[in-house]
């Protein structure tokens, strides 16, 4: 790699990292204003125009809060857990393609941090670590609420992870890899969804894999511990769940980690099923500057729509019962995902022969 490439890469990574951190205040204000809209009230509107600066004010407040460490905690895990919650979803974002890329001369700026040939495996490997943070936090604080929350959290996220993995397998199967490109690379999955059927119908995976789409959607809410599956921190039962004994910036980090995971899962849904940065009727992957910028905007619009769905669902659906959650995961989604894979394999081989 030349020096120029190294500098550009560092700037790109820094920009993506900053954007991902900024997704947290955006999601928070979206959520707070969104719930106000749904509940027919005003919501935060004092800090800045339309209350847009409210999350920053909250963050500043948390920095200046007293930082205490309770007596009974497991010190090492207590400090590691917030860091873990923040690191895992951020690192997983490395393989998400958020734009097509710009080509100037023989220099290519791809809008993706790392395009591994086994991007899907990388993603699944990192995502399977996402329950570690919750377990560490819940166990380390030696608090009954925290312990219960950690137990529930890990059982819930591992159960839905299988359904999510199987849904992703179906997506990999429906991605065309005939031209020698790896269908486990995230860029291939997106590029394969560009274009249209019959000239007008988008080639998005949501239309070819509708069952996998809904399985992924359900698993997405369970993985990020959001309503209707928010058993990890159901306020009426567990106070704040695994965050109970945390204060100051460490609480803020757990909170940020949760929202970055939300941002990541929304981006994954867009990438796997809603065509990523592609627009069905226009080719944005030609390497021009306008195409590159337009592709990022397309990605952001889709991302916002999915993120809004998160908030909409949270304030519309009530929480499930825990046994119903496990029933849905193991008795409905996993068998359904297996059947979906079998059906996809049949159709794929039949179309080829």
């Amino acid at each position: 790699m030349s020096t120029l490439e190294i500098i550009v890469t560092c700037i790109k990574v820094l920009a993506v990292f900053t954007a991902l951190q900024m997704a947290v205040p955006v999601l928070v204000i979206m959520e707070r204003r969104g719930v106000s809209f749904i509940q027919d009230r005003v919501g935060p509107d004092r800090c800045g125009p339309f209350g847009l600066l409210q999350p920053f004010a909250d963050a500043a407040k948390l920095v200046f809060k007293e930082d205490i460490t309770p007596r009974h905690v497991d010190k090492l895990l207590y400090f590691l857990a917030p860091a873990f919650c923040l690191i895992v979803p951020t690192v997983a974002f490395a393989v998400v393609p958020f734009g097509s890329g710009i080509r100037i001369g023989d220099f290519t700026l791809s809008f993706q941090i790392a395009d591994f040939r086994v991007g899907v495996l990388y993603l699944l490997a990192i995502l399977s670590m996402s329950s570690f943070g919750v377990v560490c936090a819940g166990w380390a604080q030696n608090n009954k609420y925290g312990t219960l929350s950690a137990l529930r959290g890990v059982a819930q996220s591992v159960s839905y992870e299988i359904a999510m993995c199987l849904a992703v397998v179906a997506v990999v199967m429906s991605t065309n890899s005939d031209s020698g490109v790896s269908s486990t690379a995230m860029s291939t999955i997106v590029a394969d969804q560009g274009g249209t059927y019959l000239g007008f119908f988008p080639k998005w995976n949501v239309f070819t894999q509708p069952i996998a789409f809904f399985i992924f959607l359900a698993a997405m809410y369970a993985e990020t511990n959001r309503t209707p599956f928010d058993f990890v921190e159901c306020e009426q039962e567990l106070v704040a769940g695994y965050m109970t004994e945390y204060g100051s910036m460490k609480f803020s980090m757990l909170f940020m980690g949760e929202y970055i995971a939300m941002a990541l899962q929304s981006a994954l849904l867009v990438t796997f099923f809603l065509g990523g940065w592609t627009l069905p009727w226009v080719d944005l992957g030609d390497g021009s500057i306008a195409g590159g910028i337009a592709s990022v905007i397309v990605f952001l619009v889709k991302w916002f729509a999915v993120a809004w769905l998160y908030i909409w669902v949270r304030w519309t659906l009530p929480r499930l019962r825990y046994d119903k959650l496990m029933d849905l995961g193991w008795k409905a989604l996993v068998p359904l995902a297996l059947i979906n894979i079998v059906a996809t394999a049949f159709v794929g081989v039949w179309l080829r022969s």
């Binding site: 790699m1 948390l62 917030p82 860091a83 395009d115 591992v158 199987l166 269908s183 046994d323 297996l338």
Partner: protein, 120 residues
Amino acid sequence: MGAEQLFPTLVLVGLVVATATALIVISSLFGPARRKSREKFDTYECGVQLLDSARRRFSVKFYLTALIFLLFDIEAVFLIPWAVIYRKLGVLGLFETFFFIAVLGIGLLYIYRRGALEWD
């Protein structure tokens, strides 16, 4: 395609680890130092006196779920290499994998019938 993809990933990892460390340090630097009382550092239990430790026995179901997860997750990841080339493998590969998925399905049915998935 390997090394030049690894470098930006490592930059990202370094960046986020540094940020996480900085955030933990910041809160201990800027937080006010107030009077420390015994009750303040106690475990939170809705304001009442602590009865016993949180390290208690918990339901074996959680352990069982984690165990079943290990089996099924490995099998789900094992399907990915096949998913990449299943078109080229044709009908024979199709039936071999159907046998594999059938074993998976029978395993799931067995777990279900033995009541490992019942939570009430």
